[in-house]
């Protein structure tokens, strides 16, 4: 009994020293606080802001969007609105039908089908009031035209401010660059 209690005490005292060592180590390591208004986080990997349009490689003013409407259909909160021009049905009916079939496939086949056959996106907005940030639209987009923005300064005074016009945002961003 006595030996056991003595051993327990010795182990306990040793654990106190270990604890002091842990806090001393943390004391000398640099702190991890980011002084928010003056500093921004160096890495925002995995941060989910509202969605934004990805600019295409050739023209930063244009989006990669192919106006397939997958995001609008898949959104559980129904907060994405998209308007697209109707595909012009002039010639090459066959090609057109094939393109509409392969909407969800890779973009290469699309490029091969005539340019006139493609619908074009003219307006794209997200109502961030209802967005649940599930990310299904980003996952489902066949052309990789959607991504989460890193806009964590988002704040506003009215609901209307969160009805975000993504095309305007894309263009103002392109202007900045």
């Amino acid at each position: 009994m006595l030996v056991k209690s003595l051993r327990d005490t010795a182990v306990g005292l040793w654990s106190l020293l270990v604890g002091l060592k842990v806090t001393a180590f943390n004391f000398v390591t640099p702190n991890i606080t980011i002084h928010y208004p003056r500093e921004v986080s160096p890495t925002l990997e995995g941060f989910r802001g509202h969605i934004e349009l990805v600019p295409s490689e050739e023209d930063p003013y244009k989006s990669k969007c192919i106006a397939c409407g997958n995001c609008v259909r898949t959104c559980p909160s129904a907060c994405i609105t998209m308007k697209a021009t109707k595909p012009k049905k002039k010639e090459e009916d066959q090609q057109e039908s094939s393109s509409s079939d392969t909407e969800s496939q890779s973009g290469e086949k699309k490029e091969s089908s005539g340019k006139k056959a493609k619908p074009e996106m003219v307006a794209f907005s997200v109502n961030f009031n209802y967005c649940c940030l599930c990310g299904l639209c980003v996952e489902t987009c066949p052309s990789g035209a959607l991504r989460f923005s890193d806009n964590y300064f988002l704040a506003g005074f009215s609901r209307e401010e969160f009805d975000i016009d993504l095309v305007a945002r894309l263009q103002s961003k392109a202007k900045e660059q």
Partner: protein, 324 residues
Amino acid sequence: MMDIIPTQFIVIFVGLLAIMTFIAVNALILVYLERKVAGFIQRRPGPYEVGPQGILQPVADGVKLLGKQIFTPKGADSKLYWLAPIISITPAIVCFVVIPFGPFLQVINSNVGLILILAFTGINVLAICVAGWTSQNKYSLIGAARDISQGVAYEIPLLLSILPLIFMTGTLNLYEIVIAQGAWPWQWFIASQPLAFFIFFICSLAEANRTPFDLPEGESELTAGFHTDYAGMGFGLFFFAEYTYMTVASCIVAILFLGGFQGPIASGWWWFLAKVYVLLLIMIWIRWTFPRVRFDQLLNICWKWLIPLAVLNLLLTLGVIAIC
């Protein structure tokens, strides 16, 4: 004119003024140190916004406390209720009167200095008892009851651990105890009485109600313990008193075990302050490392370990003194 006022009176008056200034500045420094160390240990910057590196934060806190409404709870005995914080802080000021800061920096060189400090630090228990009792509040009362049992229990090993030193030096005069130790660390009493040093240090943590022995104000179960109902400067004075008692405890440890103002090169008050602040930093470090003990553990540490060890240490020392 000068003949009417005795010199001793002037010395004490000036000394008390200097002491009050010292403990006020010291409390500001300690509040800042405590919060900075807490921050760094938790890998955050601590106070940062008020002044450069948040250095004016304790001043801002003080101004906030001064500006708060003074409020007496319903049913409280208002005279005693407001007397309690004053009873808590006054003895702490008196304790500094006999502490030798340097070879010539001491208000009164008293032959019973050690006894005076031990007696006056004990009054804090009374202050907390009064505060808990007059608050008419369950949390306060339980906090006060805890403080009394803790204070009574830890007073015993505290005294028992000092006794060997008194036998070795044969004096209760703090200045002479410092002089009895040499300038080098191996001549200090921590080298000849290491066990007494540890017992005394642990007991002084408990007496000053510092974590891991801060049961009287255990936030997790008692809101704020004995000072739950105090707002504004009532709370401020208790807070002030806690830091002052910490400083008194560090001063006594530095004097009894670490050679006081004596140091290897150029003895003086700077050595004393350096030792005191190192001890205070260790107390703060301990606070942000260890969790609070349970009440039965608190009493077990005292009755099962500290008191028997202190008695053993005392008997050993007496034996050695008798043989030599």
